[in-house]
Amino acid sequence: MKTRLIILFQFLILFAHAQVEISGVVQSETGSPITGVNIFIQGTYDGTTSDSLGVFSFKTETSGEQTLVASCVGFETYGEQLNLTNNITDLKIVLIEEISELDEVIINAGTFEASDKKKSVVLKPLDVALTAGANGDIFGAFGKLPGSHTVGEEGRLFVRGGESYETKTFMDGMLVNTPYYSKMPDLPTRGRFSPILFNGSVFSTGGYSAEYGQALSSIVALNTVALEPETKSSISVLSVGLQGSHAKRWENTSLSISGEYLNTALTNKIFKQNVEWLKVPVIVGSTMLFRQKTSETGMIKSFASFNYDTSSLLYDNFEQSAFQEISLGNKNLYSNTTYNEMLNDDWMIQTGVAANIDRENMDIDSDNIATSRNSSQLKLTLSNYSVKDVTTTFGAEALIYKYDQDIKMNGSFNLSFSNNLFAGFAESEWKVTKNFALKAGLRTEYNSLIKELNVTPRLSAAVKTGKSSQLSAAYGKFFQNPNDDYLKFTDELAPETSTHSILTWQYKKDSRTLRIEAYNKNYSDLVKFDEEFSVEPGNYNNSGSGYSRGIDIFWRDQKQFGKADYWISYSWIDSKRNYRDYPVKVTPHYVSKHNLSVVYKQYFTKINSFISGSYTFASGRPYNNPNTPEFMAGKTKTYNDLSFGFTHLFYLFNTQTVAHVIVNNALGFNNVFGYNYAQTPDNNGVYQSQPIVPGQKRLIVFLLSFQL
């Protein structure tokens, strides 16, 4: 009977509760009301949603100690212990805004990143592929960003007063030793790899991570796509050749292969050439990508490309006042395999091997130069996440490089060397608060050829200066071995050195980004020589030095899809150096003080067309006029280029088709890159000159691509 009474009593208690009412308001830290917040008693259905004034009120039948939870998208979830005996009114809940990726502090001094995964970036992978005037070349697109100079006769990236060899290219973390096709004198080259292979890229104009070395100025780090989304094929017909690709997708595996044959015979006929081609440029290339997903976080990627390019022209060698027949042939094989995986919650492994074989054959009249560059690389990186807000990465790499050159020119010569480079690095990034982050790293390198061991520091930090703005700074010291052109003659040289200091302010709100970056770069130990191509080791020394300082400005307004999207990039630079055979410290011939690029893009949904345009301006570049006593005192006229791209998507013969047209230098500016001077004066004592001009004034390329 007693038990029965207890049960009955409990039963009564169960149903005897009075309802309790809870009401109040939800606000943000700044005091503004938050709408749509889910407010409830944990473990029950009892709850409600805050209205447009942040006000809420609900009843519950629970009692005693209970947890009140308030959750809302974009805010940290809030919990509070309440003792529910009586009604609770005028409750004030303050929700703290979640640090979204957009508002997070990011160390970005010196770095432009293109990605479709991260929202903090200012570029998309498509920006790289579809920038007018870049001709679908990755390096061409980065050339429209602040920090790079327009050097029309080179086609390579020149960054902040640095020569093109000061920029190194990496694919999935592995070095790409020969990223450009071979190059004829006074004519531009381009990158070997199609931008559509990559879904993320980083263009660093200085102060980059300790993971990378052997680049005095800049790095370009490209990340290849993950698994191909689906099985598909495509065939493209271009006014300069043919391209085809096939991708096959299995559950956790994908394989894609592509091939191309490019030949400029047709366009060379249509567009008047300033070059007398004996054999028009031909490129034959193929690419293979294999991907295997090993787990949720694990991936094996294999990449291989082979390409062959050849051309021949009659070169007006003004210096030696002779016409020379120059023939060029290059074979290049590049492959890498990388493996990435989270080993557990704390450790990530990234490892890879890469190999590059490059053979170049150059005939100048009856002379012949055959150069072979072989490199292989092994790299292992481990990242640790076990400490909250701290990421520590460390790794090691070995790079084995062999250079071999056979010259047949009044006799036979062989110039060769090999260098083994071993490097180790460690770097730690610490998000001290949500407004302040620090990164410090060290890199050490040992070179077997020049027997140098060095250690270099890298430091960077960023601090939020407002909700949408931040200040970021970077400092670092960088070493790079002297160019092959010197190392083949002597191993008595030390690495060249540069020191970067960078300060960046960035404002990013909604669609708009403004970046202002100031930098100072000092060069020392640059190679100097008395005479170019001298075989005398004593001819070369490390006494050169120089500096670059400047301001880079980038503005982008990236409206919603279908609206206008444009960016403006401006760079001012003051750079001087005394290297090579320069008698004094001067601004080198590839530096223009002012560089401006305006890039515009718009997608017209109604007509399924994408239009892009770009205008590039560069102030005059120095050149040396031997008729004047002052060295490198001449100045070319300014460089101007207006280019367009037009892409139309349509359906042809039941096949999805893309038509693409690019027009370079639409207005036909007569650009001059510099002047070649005769080595000896004429009868009147004057050194005659000849301007260096583009291979053709205008260029139009058509492409028709069928998705099968």
Partner: protein, 210 residues
């Protein structure tokens, strides 16, 4: 003693029934509210209600299904591109939880195919290429798991209908899919009044536009 046992027994049954009834009542009420929703605030409220139910009923996929569904609707309503992804991240969280409970539920794969197009609207140029194949894959899976689920056919039809002809879409391509969807909708009987049963009206409305 017998009385006591009876009492205990009836108490247990009563509580269990009350709880079960509680779930059904709450779900029915929430569904009523969701169906009459017209504004972002309404759907947000619906999503919140289903979320609350889902937190107690950890073995039921339906509250998560509707929480996710309401959140996806919110994402379609909101024109602020920056917020869309946040809503969709939340919707995806609900959906992932539901898939853990019912990994072979065709409706959940259909819902995934309702979510992806909203992701695409944030950045069609970049995301179209990424999400279209994913969308096709989940619809194939949804149909394989339950060929009688009409929503899979409707979602395929509406996607093709909204896709430009140049990309292999358009009214003519979509028509047979709408027709299949209509057939399946006419035959469709939900497992319970709480199970997904939407799409019939909108399918017919869209068919009138063909």
């Amino acid at each position: 003693m017998k009385t006591l046992l009876t009492l205990i027994f009836s108490l247990v049954v009563l509580t269990a029934a009350a709880q079960g009834k509680n779930y059904e009542t709450a779900m029915t009420a929430a569904l009523e509210k969701m169906k009459s929703s017209e504004t972002v605030a309404n759907f947000q409220e619906a999503a919140n209600t289903f979320e609350r139910i889902s937190m107690t009923e950890t073995k039921e996929w339906l509250p998560l299904y509707y929480a996710s569904y309401s959140m996806i609707v919110v994402s379609y309503f909101d024109q602020d591109v920056n917020k869309k992804d946040a809503y969709l991240d939340k919707a995806q969280q609900f959906l992932d939880k539901a898939l853990k409970i019912a990994p072979d539920e065709s409706e959940l794969y259909s819902l995934q195919a309702f979510l992806y197009p909203s992701r695409i609207t944030v950045d069609p140029m970049t995301r179209g290429m990424e999400y279209m194949p994913k969308m096709n894959a989940v619809l194939d899976k949804a149909i394989a798991l339950n060929p009688e689920n009409p929503r899979s056919y409707y979602l395929r039809a509406i996607t093709l209908f909204n896709m430009p002809e140049q990309f292999g879409g358009g009214a003519e391509v979509a028509r047979p899919h709408f027709e299949t969807a209509k057939e399946k909708f006419d035959k469709f009987e939900p497992e319970s009044p709480l199970h997904p049963n939407w799409g019939k009206e909108i399918n017919e409305m869209e068919m009138k536009k063909l």
